[in-house]
């Protein structure tokens, strides 16, 4: 890279780079605070549904500690309630979590050189919220040191994962007192939509989301979870294809 091409850091980027790991950790906590508004009702709802499905407190906590993945926990409990075969329950819930392989891969450029123990810990704490915040922080501030990146990630995880566990347990305990008219069930789709909307920055993103929606609706005839497994690769391919085409058109326009 030539000196002229060296990007000029914005004041905000300079502030981020100057933070100590402890400050990065706190910054991660603060930035994931808004997710509490969603994760707490989610966790409560999981506890409620799990109690209704006949799970005991240890099993509720087993799910939230060992699986630690909201959407797939809901999927599993829903299918267990429906008395689906064990294999279908596990495959469907794993399909919901397959997206995390892609999170894992997309963090490699940023965390791939961390110590194996740190990467093992990041893997355990890799949920939608910690991923979304961290990848944005890393991409906006590519010059962050590894210790700053890890500290920021752990900060987001402390604030996003701990309340999930507590809320699941509380949901189990107070679950039956929550009236159905609260419509907590719809907190999940609302969260997904709220996460999706700001991502629709380009034609390629919009195309990918469109294909994802149509395919998921068409594939609902398939057993739960499998629709996502088919819709997601189709949508990803669409996004990549549109991006490549748009780049090609731009290159042509320049020449």
């Amino acid at each position: 890279m030539t000196p002229e091409a060296k990007p000029v850091l914005t004041p905000e980027q300079q502030r981020v780079l100057a933070r100590s790991p402890a400050q990065c950790f706190r910054h991660g906590i603060v930035q994931s605070l808004p997710f509490l508004l969603v994760l707490v009702p989610f966790g409560l709802l999981f506890g409620v549904l799990a109690a209704e499905a006949g799970l005991d407190l240890a099993q509720v906590m087993g799910f939230s500690v060992l699986v630690l993945a909201g959407a797939s926990q809901f999927t599993a409990v829903q299918l267990l309630t429906d008395h689906a075969p064990v294999l279908i329950v596990i495959l469907s819930a794993l399909a919901v979590n397959l997206r995390m392989a892609m999170y894992s891969a997309s963090l490699v450029p940023w965390l791939g050189n961390a110590k194996p123990k740190q990467r093992a810990m990041v893997a355990y704490l890799l949920i939608d919220q910690t991923y979304a915040l961290s990848i944005r922080q890393f991409e906006d501030n590519p010059r962050l040191r590894m210790d700053q990146r890890i500290a920021y990630f752990v900060g987001t995880a402390v604030c996003a994962c701990t309340p999930w566990l507590i809320a699941s347990a509380l949901g189990f305990l107070v679950g039956r007192a929550i009236p159905e008219s609260w419509a907590l069930d719809f907190a999940l789709p609302i969260t997904f939509l709220a996460m999706i909307a700001p991502m629709l920055r380009s034609l390629a993103h919009i195309a990918a989301a469109g294909v994802s929606i149509v395919a998921a609706l068409v594939f609902t005839v398939l057993p739960s979870g499998l629709g996502i497994l088919l819709a997601a690769p189709l949508a990803m391919a669409t996004g990549a294809w549109v991006e490549k085409r748009t780049e090609g058109l731009r290159a042509e326009a320049r020449t």
């Binding site: 508004l37 099993q59 087993g62 060992l66 699986v67 959407a71 797939s72 599993a76 829903q78 267990l80 064990v86 329950v89 596990i90 794993l94 919901v96 979590n97 397959l98 997206r99 392989a101 892609m102 894992s104 891969a105 997309s106 963090l107 490699v108 990041v122 893997a123 355990y124 890799l126 939608d128 419509a183 719809f186 907190a187 999940l188 789709p189 609302i190 969260t191 997904f192 939509l193 709220a194 996460m195 999706i196 909307a197 629709l200 390629a204 993103h205 990918a208 989301a209 294909v211 994802s212 929606i213 395919a215 998921a216 609706l217 609902t220 996502i228 997601a232 949508a235 990803m236 996004g239």
Partner: protein
Amino acid sequence: MSGFDLKIWFVILVLGIGTYLIRWSFLGAIGNREIPEWAARALRYTPVAVLPAIAAPLVVWPAATGGEPDPVRLTAAAVTLGVGLLTRNTLLAIVAGLIALFGMLYLWA
């Protein structure tokens, strides 16, 4: 321990291990190997490919109404999406969506 309990614990353990391995896959096993360009390009669209696929059926056929499309929930979804697009702010979109949802449920009841 009943058969149902055993079934649940089996699901929890296998799902827990499987989910961990999914999360660990690239970070743990593949480390700092280069990701091919086509894969990197596709990965950019992961969230926008997966999240709508989870949300769409839940919005159109909500479980709470027994899978019947519901004007209240469809409106709340539209408000969430609209506010999210306009403000680019996830939290504002969630708050707006929940206000729309609970407001309309209150008016409807």
